[in-house]
Subunit: 151 residues, 2 copies
Amino acid sequence: MRVSAKADYAVRAAAELAAADEGPVKGERLAEAQDIPLQFLEHILLELKHHGIVRARRGAKGGYWLARPADEVTIAEIVRAVEGPIAHVQSSPPEAIEYRGNAEHLQEVWIAVRASLRNVLESVTLADLVSGEMPSVVNELAGDPDAWVAR
Amino acid sequence: MRVSAKADYAVRAAAELAAADEGPVKGERLAEAQDIPLQFLEHILLELKHHGIVRARRGAKGGYWLARPADEVTIAEIVRAVEGPIAHVQSSPPEAIEYRGNAEHLQEVWIAVRASLRNVLESVTLADLVSGEMPSVVNELAGDPDAWVAR
DNA sequence: GCACTCCTGACCAAGGAGGTCAGGAAAGTC
DNA sequence: GACTTTCCTGACCTCCTTGGTCAGGAGTGC
């Protein structure tokens, strides 16, 4: 139930790409802007490229850019690209698990967990993230001061 | 963003304890009822004990039982006991991270992610799980057929 | 005293996390 | 055509976690 460094880095780099209009951005600039180890970031960007989220060109004047408009790329996509499916249980999707005995209804809980994650991650686009104008579901959740305290 | 075998096992074992009224339940019975490797389960139960969720007695007629009534133990507690804090980012709580540049608002997203997980996991008690009568937030999320399809 | 059951620490294999290193391959410039 | 720039790729590395197993010790009840 945790967010990996890779996913965090990927979203941050993508946010920089979303903000940079006009032309490709060098990996080095992304790494500096977000304080991410360059060579590690390059691997991440490659994964994003393979998933069709980012494009790239080599050589002088080369760099990376978003394959689609920033308001059509969600955080969920980026997280899935680098971390794989969201909210798997024991490496299986929750709808595929069969529970026995008194744990029979646990499946519904994990399904609800996944759905609630999707509600957040699929609603936020890179455009939202850069502009700071979050969708209402995020504002409602993060608006509660209680959401900001550890537990 | 995945649920470990340990967390899944812990909740399932706790559900069996919640259902078994009258007297301690042997680890062996829990392991059989939920098809969990016994020795692994014993380590998990020990962790639950250290977190004050479960009590135990040794010897003949010994076994495990819930330290509190089943309707006062949430899934969130159990998951935290065996997996640690929910929705940490890069091993830090989301409220402690400082984002720069165009990723500045990413913090709100992770806070919202954590809050949405809490909404689900803290609302479901072991009593709910065993009875199958889920709180409304779970019913609403899991009621959507779309929540049951892979993505 | 003995059977029963939990308690605890040591260990283990495989894989993932979070990187680093070295070199190759395209693209642009002179 | 040489050279620089930048991405592309695979190999490698260390540390930690996951998902267990094994062996023995320590309470508890009869």
